[in-house]
Amino acid sequence: MEQELLLKLKRKAADVRKNIIDAVFSAGSGHPGGSLSCADILTVLYFKHMNVNPSAPKDPDRDRFVLSKGHASPVLYSVLAEKGYIPKKDLLTFRQADSYLEGHPSLKDVPGVDMTTGSLGQGICAACGMAQMGKLDKRGYRVYAILGDGELQEGQVWEAMMYAAHYKLDNLTAFLDHNGLQIDGDITKVMSPEPVAAKFEAFGWNVIIIDGHDMNQIDNAVEKAKKTKGKPTMIVAETVKGKGVSYMENQYGWHGKAPNQEQRDKAIAEIDAYIENLGV
């Protein structure tokens, strides 16, 4: 993609990361690690690829996005705020009793949320249902979903893998946020879903492996998925849990923990330094 756009997207992803930190900090709880690991993917989707309009969040022809790993709600809310679906200041009400920003995304409560998720394994199935209806109704929309790699341990995910390939849902593109860590530690030590790419291939998916923080690679993979006929596409995105905040990177302890004031300030300072480096 063009350098100018790339810089813009990088800046946007940095803003999204700051939003994530502040939302989780304000809440005093939440899931920063897995939100930061897929921030680049959501940014490229929402700001380059998806045909969506914040003033018509229920447009039947819109592209859909399902955050199957619903605990990463801070990244979705942050992107929706940057996109103009919700006021940015509302992010600071995340997880509060008087807020509509639930711990896990709720489609009835948040404009722009296409599916209620949080119970792992269910979102990808709902995405299959949406893609199936897109085909039936001959609407040109595409459906995007993001799965966690720990989430692959849910048997229901593999029911969806079979279903999407069986019904040739080539309007469905899923990402695997392959950061390698889950609550109890390394996914291969807790219950290994590896080798993931070979499994998706064996289930009949088109598989593309990328660096999930390289926006050009994300962009190219999405383009390839759009051109793939007769098969759903799984983009296995190699990512770093906690990406962009040094002390959170590759630390499973930051799966579901909020930073304290000092940690929050350090994270924001790091991201601000990154933004300054970008020069946009």
Binding site: M115, Q122, C125, A126, M133
Partner: protein, 311 residues
């Protein structure tokens, strides 16, 4: 004429299936749940998910977000019990327009035995916020219930049976979600029944009448939201209640009636149902007798309830 409520469900889907918003899903049981009749007519709107109920329910939810009316069918044990959490989080919490039409509920499944006989599904479905729970008692009521839930926007659990049951209603019947139906008037005791227990309730009415006891008989097809008024009125006017259901006595119709009465107008209630044990293999009629889901048991319980009335 005898007809299974699942058969009437299949007929209803075929009859109302021209509505293009209707989508039907099945998990490899379409010949048993009778969704095959819809598949024949509208193959492009029928999707077999294979033996994968969790995905069936969650993908149904995704379809419902696309302005569809989605019927998802399997046996009650696999739909409501195996996929209970999918129904809760994918369907009920976002209040999506998915109808869980579950057949082969209760012990009248027969020979397949305990693993296939859902006796706890009403209890589970009833405890879910946003869920409507309906159990028709005959073919006509089933067809009308299907029509009504097509028009109702929201999650529904429709509990259907395998066994052919006698007609309770004639063509003049009008079904309304949430409205109980008084089938017989009486002043001594009230029998509140649902599903295939409505027929034994009517038989019990005759037996009691022969002994000089006038029983009121009410069909509660909508177990949630339950018709509180008709229950309170029955308690006020007859003073004693018997409930009858093909379900565990824990959590089903009997519990729902007791909840209404303990809040509004406490009265003696005796519950006829499965006494907190699993089913078993056998001919449906034999099991119905073995588990005392009979008019005789309703008569016995009616007399006990009457004896408990406050003097």
């Amino acid at each position: 004429m005898k007809k299974a409520t699942r058969a009437a469900y299949g007929e209803a889907l075929a009859e109302y299936g021209s509505n293009e918003r209707i989508i039907v899903l099945d998990a490899d049981l379409s010949k048993s749940t009778m969704t095959a009749s819809f598949k024949e007519l509208y193959p492009e709107r029928f999707f077999n998910t294979g033996i994968a109920e969790a995905n069936m329910i969650s993908s149904a939810a995704g379809m419902a977000t696309c302005n569809k009316i989605v019927f998802a069918s399997s046996f009650a044990i696999f739909a409501a019990v195996r996929a209970a959490e999918q129904i809760r989080n994918s369907v009920c919490y976002p209040k999506l327009n998915v109808k869980i039409a579950a057949t082969h509920a209760g012990i009248s499944v027969g020979e397949d035995g305990a693993t296939h006989q859902a006796i706890e599904d009403i209890a589970i479905m009833r405890a879910l916020p946003n869920m409507t729970v309906i159990q028709p008692c005959d073919g006509r009521e089933t067809k009308q219930a299907v029509k009504a839930i097509i028009d109702y926007n929201g999650p529904v659990y429709l509990r259907l049976g395998r066994l052919a049951v006698e007609d309770i209603y004639d063509n003049s019947y009008e079904f309304q979600i949430g409205k109980g139906v008084q089938l017989k008037d009486g002043c001594d005791v009230t029998i509140i029944a649902t599903g295939l227990m409505v027929k034994p309730a009517l038989d019990a009415y005759e037996a009691l009448r022969a002994q000089g006891i006038l029983a009121r008989v009410i069909n509660i097809h909508t177990i949630k939201p339950i018709d509180k008024e008709i229950i309170i009125k029955a308690a006020r006017e007859t003073g004693a209640i018997v409930t009858a259901e093909e379900h565990n006595i824990i959590g089903g119709l009997g519990s729902a009636v007791c909840e209404v009465l303990c809040d509004e107008l406490p009265a003696p209630v005796k519950r006829v149902g499965i006494e907190d044990k699993f089913g078993k293999s056998g001919k449906p009629e034999d099991l119905i007798n073995l588990y005392s889901l009979t008019a005789e048991n309703i008569v016995i319980k009616a007399k006990i309830a009457m004896a408990l009335k406050r003097q």
